[in-house]
């Protein structure tokens, strides 16, 4: 095994390669030649391009046949023929031709099959444009590449999908032109653009939230064209995670070992230059003006720089990647960039294998490295691995070098020191997505106190994911095991044996002698009865208090402040901690005068959305429960802890009772509520951030100066799962906690 980086092997996505990709993307960054239907000022009508493939919507029969159009209602049921016929408007009020189609009300979706066009557009690059006129509602249009094993097979994988965007062209009577932007018709030279879907935006739930659907709203559609804009941009060739910029080009992405147009999974950048500028300016403005984390405000120049990179590129991977990198550089653990496309990247699987950061003490040179914690599936990947196997190389680089070469840290939004621990479970998925070769090292040992292996004793296991997963996938085989994925909870062992033990709403405890272990994975909202079991488990675990306590929150996904207050209210006495100040950003000095205003404003009124979270009061905890377990000697076990679990860890430090934090690393440092950011055109997701930061006031009168977001809580004792313990089925962290608890 060559653990020394071979300088002759390039690492394209390191700095040099990033620059290369940037130069290449910039060279490709000039706006493509616009192709659009010609508008006749004399007639006020469109003339479809003679060279395009067009759908003038002059008859419903156009949509059936090869296009196999499917028409869906608001419940995703199929419309009848009569209902479909009613969609067609046979008059000249459309933009061109004899008529147009009108959707809305109970008619939600039209989905076309475009794979029949592969004979015309295979190997080519296309752009799809259509026009819609909102009459109360409008359409989201999206394209989708779907890999199926056999035609008609229901088992399929969405390789990529993204939505259309406005071009900026409109008419004075309300028609709007929308475009897919340019994209290669075939994904990886194999999977055709499968579907085009037009869907009424109204029933789409998540961001509609509490909006009311109206059945009287309509939208008209006309003049759909598919333009051939030239040969495919991204070569149909094999690639690796490390050479994708060179081999696939500035627009390319290495998908399971094959080059693919990155637009397919990320979506093209805004096509219109002015709209692109406005979009990026709004992104910069909303983070600058709304972000509450003070550390984020100090890092806005980094975001601004990333936005300028995005502004000057037409490469999808560089545009969306720069935006993501810039947003994640703000050290706001709640921040995320907008998402315009999805597909393989959103369906990543770990093949049923959980890998976490561990202490590889059985390697010839012990090191901290990703290690197999569990294997809970049987498939060509999982069958090669055992508990205790250590990931030592990816595509010939050390894991650290590989992560740097791919700039994977750009995907991490929180305290940078939390990255390695947080990201470890994603390594298999990323390697699978890119078709990388992973090398695991196994030291076979039995019995207690095993000695490290020599180099000669070490077994190296190469897992070539391009061959195992990518080749069959691109050849049209979709093995069912590709869906094998296991939820990883940063634990090696668990005191509680329950099928739901990794679930967000789970809480449970078990006793081993005088030591009680309470396991939970988040702080679910306690309104209503949905999470009564969580409340009961936590209350029963802490009232009456145990002799010793292990608080196992190695998976800590946060949740509700009142729930956090309840849990920590049981563990802290009233004199242990006063309050957390939840403070928005002010574009004026937070001086004594402003503090006086904040302190003086009516706590029952809005106070500029500043508020003070006084311990025990947010949950309305009855006095008899407050601090019931405050004096218990407690070990806190951390792994990946964010938001509410940042708070639990921070507050634990103020307890009267002896407390010690055991963890492989720091928490995320996301001290504040998370809010979703609005979408500005047709993104799938608008992003997120914290609009507030927090100040911990331990005792009344303590100075209010230190904002907490951006710095995670470090452990008192850094503990990683030891490889030698893993082979014996021992949870290193739990044993360390027990040993400390029993020292008393």
């Amino acid at each position: 095994m060559d653990k020394n980086w071979n300088p002759s092997r390039t690492a394209p996505m390191g700095l040099a390669a990033f620059v290369f990709a940037l130069v290449l993307a910039l060279a490709l960054g000039a706006s493509p030649v616009a192709r659009a239907a010609a508008f006749d000022e004399q007639t006020g009508r469109l003339t479809l391009d003679a060279t395009s493939w067009s759908l003038p919507f002059d008859a419903i029969s156009e949509l059936t046949g090869d296009l196999g159009a499917w028409f869906g209602d608001s419940g995703d049921g199929e419309l009848t023929s009569a209902q479909v016929a009613d969609l067609y408007v046979a008059d000249a009020s459309g933009l061109e031709g004899l008529g147009h189609v009108r959707l809305g009300g109970d008619v939600r979706t039209i989905r076309f099959n475009l794979d029949s066009l592969a004979s015309r557009f295979g190997g080519r690059r296309v752009e799809i444009r259509f026009w819609q006129r909102p009459e109360g509602t409008r359409l989201n249009a999206s394209v989708e590449w779907v890999a199926v094993a056999d035609p008609g097979d229901t088992d399929s994988v969405v390789v990529g999908s993204f939505r259309f965007q406005p071009t900026g062209r409109t008419t004075n009577d309300g028609w709007e032109e929308w475009t897919s932007g340019e994209v290669d018709f075939l994904a990886a030279g194999v999977v055709p653009l499968s579907h085009l879907e037009l869907q009424d935006v109204q029933p789409q739930g998540y961001h509609s939230g509490y909006a009311t659907h109206r059945g009287d709203l309509r939208v008209s559609v006309d003049a759909l064209e598919i333009f051939d804009v030239g040969p495919a941009l991204v070569p149909d060739t094999a690639c690796t995670s490390l050479d994708m910029a060179e081999v696939c080009g500035g627009h390319g992405y290495c998908a399971m070992g094959r080059c693919m147009d990155s637009a397919i999974v990320f979506g093209p950048p805004p096509v219109d230059a002015a709209i692109k500028d406005q979009y990026l300016d709004r992104q910069r403005f909303q983070f600058q003006s709304f972000a509450g984390a003070r550390v984020s405000q100090s890092l806005m120049n980094v975001l601004a720089g990333a936005i300028e990179v995005a502004r000057n590129t037409a490469s999808p991977i560089l545009f969306w990647g720069s935006l993501r990198k810039g947003v994640n550089s703000l050290r706001d653990g709640h921040a995320s960039a907008p998402m315009f496309g999805w597909g393989l990247t959103s369906q990543a699987t770990n093949f049923g294998v959980c890998v976490h950061q561990g202490e590889a003490d059985l390697l010839p040179t012990p090191e901290v490295a990703p290690m197999v914690f569990s294997v809970e599936a049987s498939n060509p990947v999982a069958d090669l691995l055992q508990i205790g196997d250590v990931l030592v190389e990816v595509d010939g680089l050390t894991v650290a070098e590989w992560k740097e070469a791919l700039d994977l840290r750009a995907g991490h939004a929180a305290d940078p020191d939390a990255f390695d621990v947080t990201y470890a479970p994603s390594l298999l998925a990323v390697a699978g997505l890119l078709g990388a070769t992973m090398t695991f090292a196994r030291c076979e040992r039995t019995g207690p106190n095993p000695a490290p292996c020599t180099s000669g004793e070490l077994e190296l296991i190469d897992i070539d994911l391009a061959t195992l997963v990518g080749e069959p996938f691109w050849a049209g085989t979709l093995p069912a095991w590709r869906n094998d994925s296991q939820k990883c909870d940063y634990r090696f062992g668990r005191a509680v044996d329950d099928p739901d033990v990794k679930g967000y709403s789970f809480a449970g405890f078990a006793d081993e002698g005088p030591i009680r272990t309470l396991i939970f994975n988040g702080l679910p909202d306690l309104y209503g009865t949905t999470n009564d079991a969580w409340l009961t488990a936590v209350t029963d675990a802490l009232d009456p208090p145990p002799q010793y306590l292990i608080l196992d929150q190695r998976l800590g996904n946060g949740g509700s402040v009142s729930t956090t207050d309840f849990l920590m209210g049981l563990l802290l006495a009233e004199g242990d901690f006063d309050r957390a100040e939840i403070v928005p950003m002010f574009e004026r000095s937070l001086d004594d005068a402003l503090w006086s205003t904040l302190d003086g404003c009516n706590a029952q009124s809005n106070c500029g959305s500043y508020w003070a979270w006084v311990l025990h009061e947010m949950s309305g905890m009855e006095p008899g429960l407050r601090g019931v377990s405050a004096n218990v000697r407690m070990a806190v076990l951390n792994g990946r802890d964010v938001s509410g679990n940042d708070f639990t860890t921070k507050l634990a430090q103020y307890r009267t009772g002896a407390t010690r934090i055991f963890a492989p690393g720091v928490t995320h440092g996301a001290f504040g509520p998370i809010v979703s950011l609005p979408r500005h055109f047709s993104e799938v997701f608008g992003g997120s951030m914290q609009l507030w930061d927090s100040i911990f006031v331990v005792q009344p009168g303590d100075p209010r100066q230190v904002f907490a977001t951006g710095r995670g809580v470090p452990p008192d004792e850094t503990v990683l799962q030891r490889q030698s313990d893993a082979l014996l089925g021992i949870d290193t962290t739990i044993e360390a906690a027990k040993a400390w608890l029993l020292q008393e």
């Binding site: 961001h207 979009y279 709640h334 997505l433 702080l523 574009e587 500029g608 979703s676």
Partner: protein
């Protein structure tokens, strides 16, 4: 409150004039064909049926139409009715029906249609906006179907100001003429603030009529030193928050406090 309500015709113009004006005021034309509602004229004399419809012309729409990019409303296009960015909850009446509409509006932005819950006296919606130091203007276009009760509404901005927790009412602003589009009369409402809210503030819109109220283009902007028109305006009077405003904010706050977590899924690659 709305003494200046009047109807304005969408005049029939020559093609060239139509093209020019269409670029400036989107939608102020009788559309050929499908769009509903005849134009309402000021003098009632024009008979749209005897004149040919104006020719369709190509125009352009920017990402935020005719509203500024640096609008300090958190969600100026109503894309997120999630109980935080925009909240249609009334502490008294529960969930109020709101629908995001894509239709012609004075500034080309989407609209929100607000109605009262069935059997209830008012419907309300509240949205977040970020204050700043110095003079600011808050504005919004409010619409009613032509012929319906144009009063029976209230719109205010409440928040923490240097003068304390308070609210200002937005009033019909005669600096912009009402606009009729597709059977809806839109009136521009605004307030000038001598000093903006200290931080987050809330636009609170109440519909007190059975007819729907349309809301579009909320804008909160700093007033530049060059904007003399605004700087010469009298600042809006501050008043204490009404019980409904206070209760609405408490309800909003409670919903926010459930958001310590659900952190974004780590981006795999």
């Amino acid at each position: 409150m709305h003494s200046n309500w009047k109807h304005r015709s969408c005049s029939i113009l020559s093609p060239i004039s139509a093209l020019v004006i269409a670029v400036v005021m989107i939608g102020c034309h009788q559309p050929p064909g499908q769009l509903a509602d005849a134009a309402v004229t000021v003098d009632g004399g024009s008979d749209a049926a005897t004149e040919p419809p104006p020719l369709r012309s190509l125009t352009r729409r920017e990402l935020f139409a005719q509203t500024p990019v640096e609008n300090r409303f958190f969600d100026p296009t109503f894309s997120q009715i999630d109980g935080i960015a925009w909240s249609p909850f009334s502490p008294t009446y529960g969930l109020c029906p709101v629908t995001r509409l894509h239709q012609r509006t004075p500034l080309g932005q989407p609209a929100l249609r607000l109605e009262r819950p069935v059997g209830q006296a008012t419907g309300q919606v509240v949205g977040m906006a970020k204050g700043a130091a110095g003079p600011m203007e808050v504005s919004v276009w409010l619409g009613r179907f032509v012929g319906t009760n144009v009063v029976a509404l209230r719109v205010s901005l409440y928040g923490l100001f240097v003068v304390g927790d308070s609210a200002v009412n937005l009033e019909a602003d005669p600096s912009r003429e009402p606009v009729v589009l597709d059977g809806v009369t839109w009136v521009y409402h605004s307030a000038f603030l001598a000093d903006g809210p200290v931080s987050w503030a809330y636009l609170y819109v109440i519909n007190q009529d059975a007819a729907p109220l349309f809301i579009s283009a909320p804008v909160l902007m700093r007033v530049s030193a060059e904007n003399r028109r605004l700087r010469s305006r009298l600042p809006a009077d501050h008043r204490p928050l009404l019980p409904g405003e206070q209760a609405t904010w408490r309800d909003w706050q409670r919903r926010l406090q459930d958001r310590f977590g659900g952190a974004p899924r780590p981006f795999v690659w």
